[in-house]
Structures are given as structure tokens and as C-alpha cells.
């Protein structure tokens, strides 16, 4: 079976003047959204605070739960329906005061408010502000160092700094766009979303390297052609693989989206976006960066 005819010769690189605009607009929207939302909406994991997921045994509505939190003077608590019937999520952000005490008083207030309706606390997360800061800082360091290592490794394996740079610029692009979507959909930036970002980095660099690898091979074979042609040919030759792999992974993510429940809904939205941009960025970010560098900076005009 052959999904993509093997003699496909589509001028991918030639479209870069349009796609550059697409990327620029996407990045602009991403930053704009993040800016307008006043930064990312950090979840309790990073901002510090408290999340409680509760399940009542009999039907009730949000306002009842809200009045229970208001009764103990928590004005900034967010109450929302979550998951199945009779399940609610209570979120108290920042709260530098004693979270432990807040958690206790929420529980007693709820039990009082709903005397004839036993409730189960399905999950409580309570993160002190210092821990949240620590988590954020460490995650940023880890990702930053991973980027550096990727840059060095790719530059070393491809004997050319430009390839490492291209890969990293593409990664930045993917992360910015994913953050943009996270911000646009008002998804909370939690540890799960961080896991998604890490996964996207993995897929994006994988995709980039596969195409760079073909370029590396074709440079030896097609000594007379210029680099733009070599990139175009390489992208076309690997197109079948690109679509098959991305398609397979996308299928898995879509199944997770529909079947794996509310808990990882946000997680999968971010993953779908990251997957698309990760594939796109290899062709339209990583490759043009290498071409630009080679043509203008390293001076090899071949």
C-alpha cells in the first residue's frame, strides 16, 4: 500500500514566504493571548493553592457548594462542575495563609451544608507557594538544559551548527504556539500540561532529525544541486513516513481525547496542537533556518 505516491515533488520550501507569515501570526497571537490573559494561568501546581475534587452521593448544584465556601469567607474560591454527576471542583488560588486550615474548614463547611448528602473527597491537592515556585524553576532549568544538549548533539552529528540551531528554533516555535493555545483555551498550566510540552519536544525533534538525516544523505548524493532543492527532495522523500507516523500518533491522541476522561482532556488538546505544529515546524521553521544560515552566514551559496 502506498498512501503518498513516491514520486511526489511538492515545492515545500517555495511556500516559505507564506508560511513564514502564518508562523509569525501564530506566534503573535500566542504572545498576544498570553499577554492579554496576564501571563499563563498557572494551576495550583505552580502557583500554589488548593484544589479539592468532591463527589456527593445525591444530586446538588454548584450554588450550594459555592455558598459553603462563601460561608467560611473564601471569596476567591472557584467552584465548577467536573466530570460525572454530582462531582465538583473547588479551587482556591494563591492563599498564602495556612492552606492546611483552609482545607479543613472547607471540609467541615461542606459537611455542615450538606447534612443529608454524604460526600466523598476524591482528591485534594495543596501546594505551598514556595514549592510551586521551586517546581516552576526546576522544570525551566531542566527544559533549558535539555535544549542545550539537543543543540550540541545535533550540531555535532550533522557537523554543522545550523542544523542544531534549526532544530532548536523549531522547538521554540512549537512551545510558543502550544503555550498560545493553552492560553487561548484558558487551559490551566499544570503538571500534566508540562508533561505534554515535554512530549511535544520529543516528537518535534524526532521529526526534525528524520528529515535532516535525509538531507545529510542527499547532500552526498546530489552534489550538483543547490541546498533548497536538496531540502525539497528530502522532505518529499520522507513525506510518506511523516504522514504515517503523525497520523498514527494523532489517532492515539484522538482516542485519548474521546475515551480517557475529563482529567486529561486539556492534556490531549495541547498534545493535538503540539503534534501538528511539531510536524509543520520541521518543514517550515527548521529547514528555512538552516537554509538562511547556510546561505547568508556560513556563506556557502551552493
Amino acid at each position: 500500500m502506498e498512501l503518498i505516491p513516491h514520486d511526489t515533488r511538492f515545492d515545500f520550501i517555495g511556500k516559505k514566504k507564506y508560511t513564514l507569515w502564518i508562523s509569525a501570526i501564530a506566534i503573535l497571537i500566542s504572545f498576544g493571548s498570553i499577554f492579554l490573559h496576564g501571563g499563563l494561568r498557572y494551576g495550583v501546581d505552580f502557583a500554589g493553592g488548593l484544589v479539592a475534587e468532591i463527589k456527593f452521593s445525591k444530586p446538588t448544584d454548584v450554588s450550594g457548594v459555592r455558598s459553603a465556601t462563601e460561608a467560611i469567607g473564601l471569596k476567591d474560591a472557584v467552584v465548577q462542575k467536573f466530570g460525572g454527576e454530582n462531582e465538583f471542583l473547588i479551587r482556591v488560588e494563591k492563599s498564602s495563609s495556612d492552606l492546611e486550615a483552609v482545607s479543613k474548614s472547607i471540609q467541615t463547611s461542606l459537611q455542615e451544608q450538606f447534612k443529608g448528602n454524604p460526600l466523598e473527597i476524591r482528591r485534594i491537592e495543596l501546594v505551598g507557594p514556595k514549592v510551586g515556585r521551586d517546581l516552576k524553576e526546576k522544570a525551566m532549568w531542566a527544559v533549558g538544559l535539555a535544549f542545550l544538549a539537543i543543540l550540541v548533539y545535533v550540531a555535532f552529528r550533522f557537523h554543522e551548527f545550523a542544523y542544531g540551531l534549526g532544530g532548536i528554533v523549531a522547538l521554540f516555535h512549537d512551545i510558543v504556539v502550544t503555550f498560545g493555545v493553552v492560553s487561548l483555551f484558558n487551559i490551566e498550566f499544570s503538571l500534566n500540561v508540562l508533561a505534554v510540552i515535554l512530549t511535544i519536544i520529543g516528537f518535534s525533534i524526532n521529526d526534525t532529525i528524520v528529515i535532516f538525516d535525509r538531507v545529510r544523505e542527499n547532500i552526498k548524493k546530489m552534489r550538483k544541486e543547490d541546498l533548497v532543492t536538496i531540502f525539497n527532495v528530502s522532505i518529499n522523500e520522507t513525506l510518506g513516513r511523516t504522514i504515517l507516523t503523525t497520523g498514527t500518533v494523532m489517532m492515539v491522541v484522538l482516542i485519548l481525547f474521546f475515551f480517557a476522561g475529563d482529567v486529561i482532556h486539556d492534556f490531549t488538546i495541547a498534545l493535538i496542537v503540539g503534534l501538528i505544529t511539531g510536524t509543520y515546524s520541521t518543514v517550515y521553521i527548521a529547514s528555512p533556518v538552516v537554509l538562511l544560515w547556510e546561505q547568508n552566514i556560513s556563506g556557502r551559496k551552493k
Binding site: M1, E2, H6, K55, L99, E100, S103, K104, Q107, E120, I121, R122, R123, I124, E125, L126, V127, G128, V131, D134, K138, A139, A142, L145, A146, F147, A149, I150, Y153, V154, R157, L191, A195, V196, L198, T199, G202, F203, N206, I209, V210, D213, R214, E217, E237, G240, L244, T245, T248, V249, M251, V252, I255, L256, F258, F259, A260, G261, V263, I264
Partner: protein, 532 residues
């Protein structure tokens, strides 16, 4: 060629069988005892997000331990100065690690005392003022400060371990994180609040005398007699739930603490059938208690736990035998927990909860169930897709995928790593890359076949050409996985572990295992076509 191929097949089959054996304990608990003796693995540990339970990150307030240590030194210094007849004007502690001393008379005497008995103090800026009065500041040596903090953490770790052991949780994990944090993980716990109370309670038991001469009403207005403190007895009305606070005016000096407790048990009051906690002191404690009670007959002795007065009975006579009781309106559970904390001793400093995550057992079950269902559906679709698209070669790829997952899980089992939700994300990424590796190889083989190469040559070239892309992409991901593991915290680590192991398994299964199968199939005589 065929001979080395045979050896390869035997080797790979052996690895596969070994991995499956390692995984058996995870999937069934009904294994014969001799089997468990041979196989070094246990079940794969599920993280608390998957099985429910409580995750607690505590910090020990080391400064408080230093403060109380300095306070203790000050008291000793006071006694020593008095003993030597040195007139003292002022002797106070200043937070966090200073003692301010004013005295008159011979400086040498004090210097002597300090250098003999208080080597842990350093003297700052002594100055003599008018009338032969010396002012000086004594600071706790920084090495000593560090030592006190470290000891506080070590003790706290030990005590918390002790308490959790007596609480009865299966497979608790209590570890030191960094220099001043304690991580407590309690899987499958039913009553998180009770566990928090038990672990977090400082449980400092003190005996202080009630100041019988002092006027409590005056003291409440702010005129506390020197050397006294006000502490409260909290009593909760069981009917209305209202909290009453009864003030007590006490002598500040602590006569005895809970460090002399040998044992503490719950007993039942024979008259009211109310539980109370009876304590037994060590020999030294018993003597001390006898002395204290003997010297203070007809006075009231307050029993104080973490600055709450529990009771203040009158001492009727000297109490020998080293026993005392704490009464209060306890439920059996409360009395039981109190006995546990008294037995395991007081924390050297208060602990603060930095992070708490509790997942109810039902939610953990739910996420596992939904996770498994969607994983199975997607696995089935991927497997099916590979067969539809690549026919027989797809079957080979599927074998590699399944093997990849088996090897990764087996490695998790043998390294006793914990499988968490982010860990599953890492596994999914590595499986995605395994699919990719197979697709890369197959597309390459197809390409070579299109050029008119023979099956043997196409397989050879296909693997050879795809190898660099697979190795480079996998190694890049592996390198970032290792860095994430090194520098990341909890969830990032969980992701990195499964990803890194998955990548290693991937290189092995996608490149070497599939190759052996391809070779085996194509080396048979008369093979002209490849189903790919």
C-alpha cells in the same frame, strides 16, 4: 550467516522470556513461593496518582530547633552564673541564635565560664559601660547551628517513620528530600486528615506548675507576673460543637518534658468508660517526677501538649513509680493517636506542610480504568493499522511494539521505579517513536525495492539507511530524557524514567529484533518477494 542468526534468535528469545518472567508478579499474585525466590522483582509500583493515597511534603522548621536550643543554653548559663555569684543585669535570648548578657564584676570569671562550659558560643563586641557593667552578645557558632538543624531533621525523619509505622499503612515511603524536606507517601490511606494530624503534631509534652499566687484576671488584662505565661485549655462541647477556652496562669519554667516517657497506652476509665492515656516514665524520669511532685504537694501541675493545657490536677502527695495520666474528652481514636505520638516522642521542631496531594482510592481506580481502556483501543488500532498498511512486515513491527512495552515495564519492575500518569505519557512517547522507527525502516525498504533491488539487498540497505535517522532521533530524545531526570522534580522525573527506558528498549526492538525476523524470513531459499 545462518548460524549466527540462530544464536541471535536464541539470545533474543531468552531476553524476551526473562522480561516476561520479571513481569509475572505484576499481573498475578498467585505465584508459587519458589518462583518468587528466583525472580527478583516485585509488582510494578503504581504512583499515588494511579492507586490513590497521600503525598505529603514537609519541611522541618530548623530555626525553631535552634531557638529552643539557644533558650536551653541560656537557662544553663543563668544557673551557672548564679552558682558562681556573678551579678547579672540582663540575660535574654534574641532571635534566632543570640544571647544578650549584661553583668557586673570580673570579666575573667565570665570568660572562664564561657570557655570551659559554653564552647558553642562566640562572643561578639563586649563593652564595658559605666559602673563596671559589661554588655556582651553571645552567638551560637555557625557550625553548631548547622548541626542542630541537621539533627532536628534527622530526628524528625526518624520520629515520623516511627509514627507512620504504628499508624499501620502498607508500604509507606518516608524519605529525605534535599536537605530540609521530608517526603511522606502513604498509599491507599482512608483517613488523610487523621494521618496529617498524627504526622504533623509536634507532640511536645510539658509539665508546668500553676501560679497559685498570681491573679488570672489581672494577667488577662496584660499584667502578667514576671516568669509566668498564660496558656489555654480548649474544651469542645460534644453537643453544640462550641469551643471553650479556659485560661491558666502558669510558671514559665518547664519542670519536665515528654522525653522521659518510656511507654504510653490507652486505658479505659472504669467509672465513665472514657479513654485516657497512661504514661510510664523511664527510671530517670520517674525519679525526676517523684522529686517534682514531692516538692510541690498541694499545688496544681499542668500537663501541656503543644501549648494546650490538657489538665491541671492538684498534687496530693509525692508520686513514686513513674506513672502519669492524660485525661480529656478523647474519642478512642484520638486517645490512640495521642499514645502513638507520645511513644514516638516529640518532634525536635515543628513541621510545616509544603505540599499535600491526596487522591481518593476511587479516583485512582477510575483513571486507571479509563487509561487502560483507551490504551487498549489505541494499541489495537495501531497494531491493526500496521498490518493493513504493511501486511506481513506490519506483523513484524507489531511484535517489536509489544516487545518494547514488555521490556520497558520489566525494566520498571526490576529497578523498582514507580509508574505515574506522567510516566505513562513518557511510555506513550516512546511507543510513538517505536512506531516511527518501524515506519522509517519499512519506507526505506520499499524505496530500495522500487529501485529494483533484491529482497535481501533491500532489507540490508533499508536497515542501513534508516539506522542513522533512528539512532540520532532516539539518542537526542534519550539525552534530553536523562537531563530531565537529573534536573527535574517528581512528575518530570517520572516522565523521564519511562521515556529513557522506553527509548533504550526501542533501539533494541525496532532495530535488532525486527532485523532478525526479517533475516529469518528472507534467508529461506526461494524468497523472491517481500510482503511489505
Amino acid at each position: 550467516m545462518l548460524k549466527t542468526l540462530r544464536w541471535k534468535i536464541i539470545l533474543y528469545a531468552a531476553i524476551t522470556v526473562f522480561a516476561i518472567l520479571l513481569l509475572l508478579p505484576t499481573f498475578t499474585s498467585q505465584l508459587p513461593p519458589w518462583f518468587m525466590k528466583i525472580i527478583p522483582t516485585d509488582k510494578i509500583h503504581k504512583g499515588l496518582d494511579l492507586q490513590g493515597g497521600m503525598y505529603l511534603l514537609l519541611t522541618v522548621e530548623g530555626e525553631k530547633a535552634v531557638e529552643s536550643y539557644v533558650e536551653q543554653i541560656k537557662n544553663n548559663l543563668k544557673d551557672d552564673l548564679k552558682e558562681r555569684g556573678i551579678p547579672v543585669g540582663k540575660l535574654e535570648t534574641e532571635k534566632p541564635d543570640r544571647i544578650v548578657l549584661e553583668f557586673s564584676g570580673a570579666k575573667e570569671k565570665v570568660d572562664n565560664l564561657l570557655s570551659q562550659r559554653f564552647t558553642m558560643l562566640r562572643e561578639l563586641s563586649p563593652s564595658s559601660g559605666a559602673g563596671g557593667i559589661w554588655k556582651t552578645q553571645l552567638v551560637l557558632d555557625s557550625k553548631e547551628t548547622e548541626y542542630v538543624k541537621k539533627r532536628a531533621i534527622d530526628q524528625a525523619l526518624e520520629i515520623i517513620r516511627n509514627r507512620v509505622d504504628q499508624f499501620g499503612v502498607s508500604e509507606p515511603e518516608i524519605t529525605l528530600q534535599g536537605t530540609d524536606r521530608i517526603l511522606v507517601q502513604l498509599p491507599g490511606i482512608q483517613d488523610p486528615q487523621r494521618a496529617i494530624n498524627l504526622i504533623g503534631q509536634t507532640a511536645l509534652l510539658e509539665f508546668k506548675l500553676v501560679d497559685e499566687e498570681g491573679n488570672i484576671d489581672e494577667a488577662l488584662k496584660g499584667n502578667i507576673p514576671p516568669g509566668d505565661v498564660i496558656l489555654y485549655q480548649r474544651s469542645v462541647d460534644s453537643q453544640t460543637g462550641a469551643v471553650r477556652k479556659i485560661p491558666f496562669l502558669l510558671k514559665e519554667k518547664t519542670l519536665m518534658t515528654g522525653e522521659f516517657i518510656k511507654d504510653a497506652r490507652v486505658s479505659l476509665d472504669s467509672q465513665f468508660h472514657e479513654p485516657y492515656v497512661s504514661m510510664e516514665f523511664t527510671d530517670i524520669g520517674a525519679k525526676l517526677f517523684e522529686q517534682i511532685t514531692g516538692a510541690n504537694v498541694k499545688k496544681r501541675l499542668a500537663i501541656i501538649l503543644d501549648n494546650n493545657v490538657y489538665s491541671a490536677p492538684e498534687i496530693r502527695e509525692r508520686i513514686a513509680g513513674g506513672r502519669a495520666q492524660i485525661t480529656g474528652r478523647f474519642s478512642t481514636e484520638e486517645a490512640n493517636d495521642l499514645a502513638v505520638v507520645l511513644r514516638s516522642g516529640a518532634l525536635p521542631a515543628p513541621v510545616k506542610i509544603l505540599e499535600q496531594r491526596t487522591v481518593g482510592p476511587s479516583l485512582g481506580q477510575d483513571s486507571i480504568h479509563k487509561g487502560i481502556v483507551s490504551m487498549l483501543i489505541s494499541a489495537a488500532l495501531v497494531v491493526l493499522f500496521m498490518i493493513v498498511y504493511y501486511k506481513f512486515a506490519g506483523v513484524i513491527a507489531d511484535v517489536a511494539l509489544v516487545l518494547n512495552i514488555i521490556l520497558t515495564l520489566a525494566a520498571l519492575a526490576i529497578f523498582r521505579a514507580t509508574l505515574t500518569l506522567p510516566g505513562i505519557a513518557g511510555l506513550v512517547l516512546s511507543v510513538g517513536m517505536a512506531v516511527d522507527a518501524n515506519i522509517l525502516i519499512h519506507e526505506r525498504i520499499k524505496e530500495e525495492l522500487r529501485f529494483g533491488k533484491t529482497v535481501r539487498a533491500a532489507i540490508d540497505q533499508g536497515y542501513h539507511r534508516a539506522f542513522s535517522a533512528i539512532i540520532d532521533s532516539n539518542l537526542t530524545t534519550l539525552i534530553s530524557g536523562i537531563i530531565l531526570y537529573q534536573f527535574g522534580t517528581g512528575p518530570v522525573k517520572g516522565f523521564a524514567v519511562t521515556l529513557s527506558i522506553g527509548i533504550l528498549a526501542n533501539i533494541f526492538t525496532a532495530v535488532y529484533i525486527t532485523r532478525v525476523i526479517f533475516d529469518y524470513v528472507s534467508l529461506r531459499p526461494g524468497v523472491k518477494t517481500l510482503s511489505i
